[in-house]
Amino acid sequence: MKPRWTGLLLLIAVIVVLALLPMLVNNFWLRIATGALMWAGLACSWNILGGYAGYINFGHSAFFGLGAYVTALLMGDKLAWPFFATLPAGIVVTALFAIIIGAPTLRLRGAYFAIATWAFAEVLIQFASVMDFTGGIGGIGLPPFLDERFFYFAMFGAAALTYLITWALFERSRFGLKVKALRDHEPAAEAMGINTSLVKLQTFVLSAVTASVFGAIFAYWVTFINPNSVFGGDITDQMVVMVLLGGLGSLWGPALGGVALFVVNRIIWMYWGDTAFYIAILGAAIVLVVLFLPNGIAGLFSRRGAKSGAVLDKAVGNLAGDGQGGPS
């Protein structure tokens, strides 16, 4: 029971520090913290499908962008909705898209699913670039709201909610067990009477909807979006790398990976922002982590890290999609 108590104390300490942060740091660091919370939340959102269900989504930026575009379009001059009214609208639109896209694509396995979702995100980029109502490639501006604290607490709230839902659903409920079962052996899960298609779709929609909320806040925060800035593949790439660095399929791994990668990126960018060399440093850092921290940062802290790795090792789903590529 002792470790649980220290864990709880640590969690409370983190929450207190985060709640007090706006009083402790200046606006620039608050902005960085806002970004870090967003990425921690997005990494968790990706991990819901990637880590718990074992489906690698290369087009997750599609849902981030949908949330951003719905908010931007509704808050524009013509409709001028208040920000909070756009959030449920974004959630509904994203959920509908996720159901329509998820139902057929979730039949695909491994890399085929990954590339199909990527293709979907590219379709949305091209669509938003060509259409007039989305502002085309020029993008859309939003009415600027310049309160850094508001956005900090909005991201904080969204991230906290995302982690709470993930914890409750995937670490503490039967639903989580079903999802993990289908990840570890889909035919077996089906044989046990789990409606795997439904469970996968529910997980996919949850993952999509959480990403869209961050997209909505992001659009309002940055005040300007265009197709590449919210649908771009680099957004998904970052989520994937953050989850892998933090620890795939663990609750806190994505938070650690998201915060670490974003903050290290920004620190390197601050000191070497006048050359492109920081990109090389970032690349080298990723290579080193893969080589020396293969279970992610979370693997360093938990004794279970190695063990759960061994269990997962036997997982059928691998990117080859044919069950032969995996080691045994």
């Binding site: 490639i137 993008g139 005040t223 265009n226 960018w269």
Partner: protein, 423 residues
């Protein structure tokens, strides 16, 4: 950090990385940079040092740096008879508007800059404007050319280059007038990315005014293959082909046209033709390509920091190894606007928040002559705070060199028209 410490020493790498990682993400917020003992002006540069817009981003940075070097060599910016040096700070926007906003916030809050020099891309500029507004810090944009930047009526942002909707069409009209026999038809290609699309629209709308018939207007995706669109246009055989894009797609347009043996009577492209890298990459195939420029080393302007336009060009050439284009010149001129405004304001560093608002008002009243040309900002309308004074010059690459061919009073050589067949 000073402008000439761009070299990357190993010691700096080690010491900075040690600090960065030892201080750590939580420790960093409390580390504050001490103000230098000698008062200086601090200027922040936001531009694309990585990502898809690196070429333009580096051009922009070079222009701003040229001013900092020139002014520091003279002892600094003069205020009330005293000279104050300028410190430059940089933020990479990674060719991404959101990172541009982060960079602006950092330069203002962390580095406490007195003025910002604006990004290369219009997208970043639009994202940075609200940050300038929030902190009431003026920004001088030496590069942004998109009309969208000024439509939003940014209170704190000022543009040195006339928006492309005013320049692209005018240059096309000059080209049509000079063509003999007179051109009748035109095909317009716009690469579907923010600035290039607006350039394409500028050409399209300008064509109608110039009395040219637009036989095709095609938007192409930035990473698409150009053979289909060039084939389609070749089949329509227009007199002029006009292309809005950045240097990489422009280079590909020329290569693809040649490989399909299609040579229109005139080819006009914007932006990137004026950058020497374009002619270097294409060698002889670049010859004959027309472009739009609001400045050339041959223009008859001067000021007391850089001297004549020619002298500025030589200084830039010495530093970067090739002739500067108009973006570099406009960025260098941005510094002159700051120097002039702060001198009129008469406030020494460190500027207070009230001083910066007053500085913004002083910049709005700018009316100066520089090596780049006259600078005066619009006070209303669709080009609010943009400097629409410069008259665009039609240039053509001849023998690997950029020369002015129109309008007549600016021409240094005759327009080659129609273009000869490919060699």
């Amino acid at each position: 950090m000073s402008t000439n410490s761009k070299g990357f020493s190993r010691r700096r790498f080690l010491s900075v990385s040690a600090v960065a990682f030892a201080a750590g993400p939580l420790g960093m917020p409390f580390v504050r940079t001490a103000r230098a003992q000698v008062a200086t002006f601090k200027a922040g540069v936001i531009t694309s040092l990585s990502g898809e817009n690196i070429l333009g981003g580096n051009l922009t940075k070079r222009g701003y740096d040229l001013w900092a070097e020139a002014i520091n060599a003279k002892g600094g910016v003069e205020v009330a008879g005293e000279l104050f040096k300028v410190d430059m700070f940089y933020g990479d926007d990674q060719s991404n508007p959101a990172t541009g906003a982060d960079a602006a916030e950092r330069l203002i809050v962390q580095n406490e800059v007195d003025v910002l020099f604006g990004p290369y891309t219009s997208g970043s500029t639009i994202a940075v404007q609200p940050i300038c507004q929030k902190y009431q810090v003026p920004m001088i944009s030496g590069s942004a050319e998109s009309p969208n930047v000024w439509k939003a009526k940014p209170e704190f942002n000022f543009g040195i280059i006339p928006a492309v909707d005013t320049t692209a069409g005018k240059s096309l009209a000059v080209l049509a007038k000079l063509s003999n026999p007179m051109a009748k038809t035109i095909a317009v290609i716009g690469v579907n990315e923010p600035f290039s699309k607006e350039t394409g629209e500028g050409f399209r709308d300008g064509a109608k005014e110039a009395g040219l018939e637009v036989v095709a207007y095609e938007l192409v995706p930035a990473s698409g293959d150009l053979t289909p669109v060039i084939s389609k246009i070749a089949a329509l055989n227009p007199d002029i082909v006009a292309v809005g894009g950045h240097e990489e797609p422009l280079i590909n347009v020329v290569k693809t046209s040649k490989s399909l043996n299609f040579r229109p009577k005139a080819l006009i492209m914007h932006y990137g033709v004026t950058d020497p890298a374009f002619a270097q990459a294409l060698a002889a195939d670049a010859d004959g390509t027309c472009g739009v420029s609001v400045w050339l080393p041959s223009v008859p302007y001067k000021d007391d920091v850089f001297g004549t336009a020619r002298e500025f060009a030589e200084m830039a050439q010495k530093k970067s190894g090739h002739e500067p284009d108009y973006t570099e010149a406009a960025c260098a001129a941005s510094g002159l606007v700051f120097g002039d405004a702060v001198k009129r304001l008469g406030k020494k560093p460190v500027l207070t928040p009230e001083d910066r608002v007053a500085l913004k008002d002083a910049i709005a009243e700018t009316d100066i002559q520089t090596f780049y040309g006259p600078i005066k900002f619009e006070k209303e309308g669709n080009h609010y705070h943009d400097n629409v004074q410069p008259v665009p010059v039609l240039i053509q690459i001849q023998g690997g060199k950029t020369v002015a061919v129109g309008p007549k009073e600016a021409a240094a050589a005759d327009l080659t028209y129609p273009l000869p067949a490919w060699k």
